[in-house]
């Protein structure tokens, strides 16, 4: 179980880092999505892996799974979802204004018009 989760987080992170280093904004957005998945999974297991246990401590219950990381993951998912929507809109905006979806700035940003 630990191996499965750890390798899943690892491969998601690796793919995410690779894609976010690409120069087209579509690949970068995909890469960021994968990275946030990896982070969410990682957050989820910070309360340790426990199977088949209730998340809330009750009278007489000795084994339980930590509920706090689950609440954190919910918050993180909502935020990363919203942020991904924002970056998609902005990437679309710059694609429509600029005519291509390259992520790096064009030469005239450094040298001014007419360069």
């Amino acid at each position: 179980m630990e191996f499965l989760i750890a390798s899943a987080i690892g491969s998601l992170t690796a793919a995410g880092v690779y894609l976010s280093l690409r120069k087209r904004s579509f690949a970068v957005v995909l890469g960021m999505t994968l990275l946030t998945y990896a982070t969410n999974l990682f957050l989820f297991v910070t309360g340790r892996l426990v199977i088949d246990q209730p998340p809330v401590l009750r009278e007489g219950v000795t084994a339980y799974t930590d509920p706090l990381p689950q609440a954190l993951v919910l918050t993180a998912i909502v935020i990363s979802f919203g942020m991904t929507a924002v970056v998609v809109m902005m990437a679309l905006g710059s694609f429509i204004e600029g005519g291509d979806d390259r992520i790096d700035l064009p030469r005239r940003d450094r040298e001014g018009p007419g360069a």
């Binding site: 904004s25 982070t39 990682f42 309360g47 600029g98 790096d104 700035l105 018009p113």
Partner: protein, 516 residues
């Protein structure tokens, strides 16, 4: 429990949506309401600063839940000082945005402004690590909106880079918090500090990984080299007033480093040495890169952005020692450099809005209207930015130089600070002489007085208000210089308070009468 502590977060949280929902068709109403809300935040911050001067650490428990189960807000001297700084910047720059007409070049400027202030205020007040993440996201998402205010291709492209960089930073932030939670089992900063002191030795490796990850996150926000690549393009392409407000955003990163490495981690000596060993070289390189950038820039926005980078480096040189003297000097220079960066961005924007096509390129162009007063404001802001007397930057740099006199690297640090200051002075002087003195050398004759856009014309909604607000920032630095004695004592008291984390732990965890 003092309920006023939560108002700096709640007030803009209500003002922002109200502006969108009820006033979106009436710009005048938006301006009046939003300015009133920001002014109220400034007054409140001043009042909280007065309360914090006594040295008591006030704790606000949201929903009256006992710490560490509920979220707490903490008000100490540093938080109060940063709130006042955010309030001053927020109000003055908002008046500039109204005076220069920036707020009507796109939609929802004022509500985004309130959300931005909500995130900044909350980040300074919170005593909970995950809550800090949430408030960081609030201030970032508002800043994405403000950054691309008024649109334009290059601005959108720079905005995409800014968003991507910060989203990667946010993922790193979550990973850092997850690691720290896995080690300590808590997210409350004071509780975390208490538990780290009791941590068994075999768990410290994971703790240090989490701490260094967190330091990287704050270094991204503070734009320390080599994590600074988002800053120059973002600040250069953002609308002038927005870039000026962003002057405090890098300081939020520095605030995070100060907060975590004075409150949460100081019980782990090896970790603190590690942090100092990483941060000091990074700060020196940041300083060099920033000031060389000022010298090499061909665009005034970029030049100011690099000057902001240099000021971050100077603050970090002082802070990275995590000693009371260094912290006091760092806090003083932090306040000064925030005001100076904002003033320089606004002065540059004054030039840009008066030039043909809003060009900020450092090339000779026809003379601008009101060149005299704009030149005077640029001159004063550049003096402040370069750290020359008589403005407060000189005293700040002196304090930073003095604070490193005890260490082994004094000669190196002094050389770097003094030589890079010279780079800064030359760069800023060159820009000023191209803009104001070579204004006639581009071959085009000066426009006939009758053709000049008058300050009352539509391009200049209220030039007087815009000029006054830049003047107000410079006046704030004059006040900082005149009241240098009391301000320095306050910075030393703040540093002394920060150096005693036990009092924070007591305030948050022990005095808990009447909570659930």
């Amino acid at each position: 429990m003092n309920h006023w502590l939560v108002v700096p977060v709640v007030l803009p949280a209500f003002a922002g949506p109200l502006i969108v929902l009820a006033m979106r068709h009436d710009l005048v109403l938006q301006r009046v309401f939003s300015t009133a809300a920001t002014a109220a935040q400034l007054l409140l911050a001043l009042w909280l600063l007065l309360q914090s001067m006594g040295g008591e650490i006030q704790v606000y428990r949201l929903g009256n839940w006992a710490a560490p189960f509920g979220i707490v807000l903490m008000l100490d001297r540093l938080a109060a000082l940063m709130l006042v700084l955010a309030g001053v910047l927020g109000l003055v720059i908002q008046l500039y945005a109204i005076g220069s007409g920036w707020d009507r070049r796109g939609r929802h400027f004022h509500s985004l402004w309130q959300f931005q202030l909500m995130g900044i205020n909350g980040a300074f007040l919170t005593g909970d690590a995950f809550n800090l993440f949430v408030l960081f996201e609030i201030l970032l998402i508002a800043s994405y909106g403000l950054m691309i205010h008024a649109g334009g291709e290059l601005r959108l492209r720079a905005g995409v880079q800014y968003v991507v960089y910060n989203l990667l930073g946010s993922s790193l932030f979550l990973a850092a918090l997850g690691t720290l939670y896995a080690v300590t089992g808590t997210l409350n900063m004071a509780d975390m500090a208490a538990r780290i002191a009791l941590l068994p030795a075999e768990d410290t490796a994971l703790l240090r990984v989490g701490a260094v990850l967190l330091m990287l996150v704050f270094a991204v926000k503070a734009a320390l080299v080599p994590l600074h690549f988002w800053l120059p393009a973002t600040y250069a392409r953002a609308p002038g007033p927005v870039a000026a407000l962003f002057a405090i955003m890098t300081k939020v990163g520095i605030y995070g480093i100060i907060r975590f490495f004075t409150l949460v981690f100081p019980s782990d000596d090896a970790l603190m040495r590690l942090a100092a060993d990483i941060l000091l070289p990074a700060a020196l390189v940041t300083l060099v890169v920033g000031q060389l950038g000022v010298l090499g820039a061909r665009h005034m926005g970029r030049m100011t952005a690099f000057a902001a980078l240099g000021s971050v480096g100077t603050v970090m040189v002082a802070v990275a020692q995590f000693q009371p003297a260094g912290l006091a000097a760092g806090i003083w220079y932090l306040v000064h450099s925030t005001l100076a960066t904002a003033a320089l961005f606004l002065a540059v924007d004054l030039i840009g809005t008066r030039r043909q096509g809003g060009s900020l390129w450092l090339r000779p162009a026809p003379p601008i209207v009101q060149a005299g007063i704009v030149a005077a404001l640029y001159f004063a802001a550049a003096i402040a930015m370069a750290g020359l007397p008589p403005l407060s930057g000189f005293l700040g740099k002196l304090a930073v130089l003095q604070s490193v006199r005890e260490g082994d690297l004094t000669a190196l640090i002094w050389t770097v600070i003094l030589v890079t200051s010279l780079f800064g002075i030359v760069g800023l002087t060159r820009a000023g002489s191209i803009v104001f003195w070579k204004a006639h050398e581009d071959g085009t004759p000066a426009p006939h007085p009758a053709e000049e856009p008058q300050p009352d014309a539509p391009g200049f909604p209220s030039a007087a208000l815009a000029l006054t607000s830049v003047g107000a920032l410079i006046a704030a630095m004059v006040v900082l210089t005149v009241l240098a004695g009391p301000m320095m004592r306050f910075a030393q008291d703040t540093a002394a308070q920060l150096s005693d984390p036990q009092r924070y732990i007591e305030a948050v965890l022990e005095r808990q009468e009447g909570v659930k």
